[in-house]
Symmetry: C2
Subunit: 206 residues, 2 copies
Amino acid sequence: MEAEPLGRRERKRLATHHALRTAALQLGAERGIRDVTVEEIATAADVSVRTFYDHFPSKEDAIIGFDAWRVGQLRDALASRPPDEAPLEALRVVMAQFFHESSDEWPLRMRAINADPALMGRMFVSFIAYERTLVEVIEQRTGLDGERDPYPALVTAVATAAFRASMTTARASGGGLDPAATFDAAIARLSDALRPPAHEDGRAAC
Amino acid sequence: MEAEPLGRRERKRLATHHALRTAALQLGAERGIRDVTVEEIATAADVSVRTFYDHFPSKEDAIIGFDAWRVGQLRDALASRPPDEAPLEALRVVMAQFFHESSDEWPLRMRAINADPALMGRMFVSFIAYERTLVEVIEQRTGLDGERDPYPALVTAVATAAFRASMTTARASGGGLDPAATFDAAIARLSDALRPPAHEDGRAAC
DNA sequence: TGAATGAATTGCACATCGTGCAGTCACTTT
DNA sequence: AAAGTGACTGCACGATGTGCAATTCATTCA
């Protein structure tokens, strides 16, 4: 899907980026992000405070915010699903896959969220940024105009709602429920209601 | 529903609260909240900066955050819906009513959000705080245990998803679509899929 | 009525946040 | 080899959010 050689400079930048995120994740999971200063994170990653802000707009974003890079990845994944697949199903596959991808980060991220539940909110905000991109793809897939038809925004919002609810419930159950399985079940429940609307000419919308 | 005489002290506090919110709303709608300092808001409401922080944790909350008072109001409204009403329908009624209530604030709030779209995210986060309360009421209504059954969290998340999507679409359409009507339509669409699950003994859940 | 209580407001101090700017150095390009 | 570009850095500064002690005033209780 991509094959850039990636020069030394680029590699170094990515290394710094990763070191900062890891440090933030680690410290946030240990002591709660509120009790960690940007200076500590920067020191742990062995860069200056100023450099931290060149990579992330805030320490919270270093923990829960998702890069433009991953947004693009998600968009490509959704765009390359079979065109005849139901939108909600396509979203389910892509989101599950996305969850699986950075699975090593999730345990730390979850501990950080437990230490400071406000982070959950920040994470949902970042979902919204994703939604905007996903809605665009859904519009293309279905050929619907998002400014006139609420459908694309609705399916996408419902998909992330299912994702959110799964995480919340899994957290409330204290590990008794598997978030991934709960997510699948929730989507299955909703899929009947959210088949795309027919076009005005009667042609199916996807 | 309530009938507290409300002493002078209480009235003064509410007046201060309202003055601060109005000032924040006004200034935020005019110039965008990023370009407004807490000091300006406090001055406009004729109180000290320190007092501002006694009422709101941040200037963003003064614009979009909803009080504990309104949370309680919403909870009571939901709890007093007929017990045999479908959960999603009860949520629809209550949320529509909530939207209608502070209808004078919405135009300003919308302008503030247009001036700084990040506020939309903050608002959705505040929805999440509401969700927690609403989920509890839904659990009581349906008799389901939120730690074992994902249903209460799911219906509520879906309801707010519909609300969010309606606002987003209405905003994208540039006033062409009525958010309230779009919201109703979205809920209608989803209601079939989200009837509560039957209890294990076969009895209907609400 | 008069004293005690407690809540709202205030100024002050302080740690932290987030950003603009200019400079250095390493890598890349031509 | 020279010019150019981009990552990192220190510095300065306005703004944020919070603890603390003092003041004022509504409320309550003796």
